[in-house]
């Protein structure tokens, strides 16, 4: 399904600190036992949020003041590990609409883009500043501006970067590429024939 244009995302932010946060942490493998993605929201960061008896560990995502946050902030190499789309699906179904980090693992980034979750990168000092602003006032409005490549947080404006092709795709509402891929049917057939695959 080709979605709507995504130019700006606004909402509250929450900072989940840590480098190399892997997809097993974002969603532990036991939650991958499913045949649809519908129920994955509550499983987000489950073992970080709950102990083995399902008691809350009072993780930042479960603090009342961060409830309803739509912008997830983290650190370097976010989403490393497996290709499980369950990870961005859980992030989206939990309520997040954009992710800001120092950097992203590649497959995770691609999965997010296809689902319409912009992943933007921001330097450490700026992320630290935003983390501080959010800590002081969790209700601070944030705007992730895809077109302008900026993040506005309270009275501050920060520069962000993102992959050109992803930015183009969000602005043109073509981040889910399936319809586009189906257009070139005859060119695909030719390629298959030329390579002896058909």
């Amino acid at each position: 399904m080709t979605g709507m244009k995504i130019e700006k995302i606004s909402g509250k932010g929450v900072y989940v600190a840590g480098n190399d946060i892997d997809t097993d942490r974002i969603i532990p493998a036991r939650f991958l036992k499913c045949v649809t993605f519908d129920e994955l929201g509550p499983a987000l960061f489950y073992d970080e949020r709950f102990d083995t008896q399902d008691n809350s560990k009072h993780h930042v995502l479960d603090k009342a003041e961060h409830s309803g946050a739509q912008v997830l902030l983290s650190d370097a190499n976010f989403g490393c590990g497996s290709s499980r789309e369950h990870a961005p699906q859980a992030i989206q179904k939990f309520g997040f609409k954009a992710v800001i980090a120092e950097s992203f693992a590649e497959i995770f980034h691609g999965n997010c883009t296809t689902l319409g979750i912009p992943c933007v990168t921001m330097v450490k000092t700026d992320r630290e500043m935003i983390a501080k602003i959010i800590a002081n006032d969790p209700d601070t409005d944030m705007i992730v501006d895809i077109e302008g490549l900026k993040v506005i947080c309270g009275n501050h404006v920060f520069n962000v970067e993102m992959k050109d092709s992803a930015r183009e795709a969000f602005l043109a509402a073509s981040y889910d590429p399936l319809d586009t891929l189906l257009v070139a049917k005859s060119a695909v057939e030719e390629t298959a024939k030329r390579l002896g695959y058909a």
């Binding site: 399904m1 480098n19 190399d20 892997d22 097993d24 942490r25 532990p28 493998a29 036991r30 991958l32 036992k33 499913c34 045949v35 649809t36 993605f37 073992d47 102990d51 083995t52 370097a76 190499n77 490393c80 590990g81 497996s82 290709s83 499980r84 789309e85 369950h86 961005p88 950097s103 992203f104 693992a105 590649e106 497959i107 691609g110 999965n111 296809t114 689902l115 992959k163 050109d164 092709s165 992803a166 183009e168 795709a169 043109a172 073509s174 889910d176 590429p177 399936l178 586009t180 891929l181 189906l182 070139a184 049917k185 060119a187 695909v188 390629t191 298959a192 390579l195 695959y197 058909a198």
Partner: protein, 469 residues
């Protein structure tokens, strides 16, 4: 200026450029399994689409399959349902399904190569990050998400940005007791878990060229742990010899002409690279992870890091990892007591892995404090190992010889660590909770080092335990 393999395979398979700037890439071989693919069939249904090239997709089950009793229905209802959904969807679409007990079931990255489905010059996709394994044959082999599985099913193509290529040359001869696993752990330690982001890795150099195909698969398998989307090795005579006579390889005269084509994909001598690194094989030692990322590793001779010796974030990372692992700082990894030993996975669950270990453990026994399991990567590996009597050697040494599957690599089946058990593991990830217990601990190492740890009851130097020189 010549081209490298990545550029050649890419150029051959590009259908065109998309408006976003990405390219549409034709996928020669698509592999699917029960965890990340059944949902894609549902997405296709929602859009009223069918499977465009069903003969280019192959399915198997590996992640959730039990390794003790695979009789159906499985005792886990959801696991049973996942297999059933995949089985029904593939049947409806006309996709070949390597079901349990078909003789061809196994870990998807073991099955493709052993059947000869994986061939040089192909673009290969699977909803699994360790698809990089297939790069050992000279392929662009990419892990993808479920929506992309849907895209490949519907169009046999992917929307994708090209990667840069880094050549990693490992020169010289590996020392005794040093394996392909140590090579890949060493590279990840050197370049970091995100050192490869944006890159395809070309593994080259005399140490790589002298590796068997199974060793090459181990190296390419863990490209993803180094952040690289894929890794590959140029096809050569070793590759062609491996493929000759395989069930799905071209046969007879067709094989000969295929070899000519396959050769043409190898990187040209004057090819250019975006980055180049040279590693001396002699510097690589048996390597063990101490932390919670695959780059947090040391040689068996070294001490765990000292957080006091570094500043800032690095200090926190080391402290967090050591505290999760319940390991002391600045202390030998050797001697760390283990509870579980696991040999298997798409990294090290092939016949040669079990052959190498069997030779070492014959006549010895696993320590009384250790639960040791050996899980063949596929039904074919199991059959071949049994024909050689390897299962008996493993069992006599105190290992459980299990049925094929991913097993304790990610513990989606009943094979899980309990509590904070610590596992010497031949798998590929030591993430927090990876082996099925939220507090479980993983030490990644080669199968040989797992065997040494199993026998001694603690992390040990395989070279000393087995007198390897």
């Amino acid at each position: 200026m010549g081209k490298n393999l990545y550029q050649k395979v890419w150029d051959d398979h590009v259908v065109g450029q998309l408006e976003s700037g990405q390219y549409q890439l034709f996928i020669a071989l698509h592999l699917i399994h029960e965890v990340t693919s059944p949902q894609a069939f549902g997405m296709l249904k929602d859009k009223g689409l069918g499977v465009a090239y069903p003969q280019r997709t192959f399915a198997t089950v590996d992640h959730i399959i039990p390794t003790t009793d695979q009789s159906r229905p499985l005792s886990d209802d959801m696991a049973e349902k996942m297999i059933q959904v995949l089985s029904d969807a593939t049947e409806e679409a006309g996709i070949e399904f390597f079901a349990p007990k078909s003789g061809s079931q196994g870990i998807v990255h073991v099955v493709g190569p052993e059947l000869g489905l994986t061939q040089p010059g192909m673009t290969i996709c699977c909803g699994d990050s360790h698809t990089s394994t297939h790069g050992a044959f000279g392929c662009i082999a990419l892990g993808i998400g479920t929506s992309q599985v849907r895209d490949v099913l519907a169009s046999q193509t992917l929307a994708i940005d090209p990667l840069k290529v880094r050549r990693i040359s490992v020169e010289g001869k590996l020392s005794a007791g040093v394996t392909a696993k140590d090579v890949t752990l060493h590279i990840i330690r050197m370049l970091g878990v995100n050192g490869g982001v944006g890159f395809a890795y070309e593994y080259a150099g005399s140490a790589i060229e002298s590796m068997t195909m199974e060793e090459r698969m181990t190296v390419c398998n863990m490209s993803i742990e180094g952040g690289a989307r894929c890794g590959y090795i140029n096809p050569d005579q070793t590759t062609f010899d491996f493929l000759q006579g395989k069930e799905r390889s071209p046969q007879g005269a067709e094989f000969d002409s295929a070899v000519e084509r396959w050769k043409s994909y190898a990187s040209d001598a004057d090819a250019s690279y975006d980055d180049e690194i040279v590693i001396q094989a002699a510097e690589i030692k048996p390597t063990v992870t101490w932390g919670i990322t695959p780059a947090q590793s040391i040689s068996i001779e070294e001490l765990t890091p000292d957080p006091e010796a570094v500043e800032g974030l690095d200090k926190d990372l080391i402290n967090d990892a050591l505290s999760y692992m319940k390991l002391a700082a600045n202390a030998p990894i050797k001697g760390t007591k283990i509870d579980v030993a696991f040999i298997g996975s798409c990294t090290n669950g092939r016949l040669s892995d079990f052959e190498a270990v069997a030779k070492l453990i014959e006549g010895r026994h696993v320590a009384s404090n250790v639960k040791a399991i050996a899980v063949p990567g596929s039904e074919k590996v199991d059959v071949a190992a049994r024909a050689l009597g390897l299962h008996e050697i493993f069992e006599a040494a105190g290992f459980e010889w299990r049925l094929p599957g991913c097993s304790m690599c990610l513990a989606m089946n009943p094979d899980k660590l309990v509590g904070d058990e610590i596992c010497a593991s031949s798998s590929n990830r030591n993430f927090v909770g990876r082996q099925g217990s939220p507090t479980g601990r993983t030490l990644l190492m080669s199968p040989m080092m797992v065997a040494a740890a199993a026998i001694e009851g603690h992390v040990a130097d395989a070279r000393e335990v087995f007198g390897l020189e």
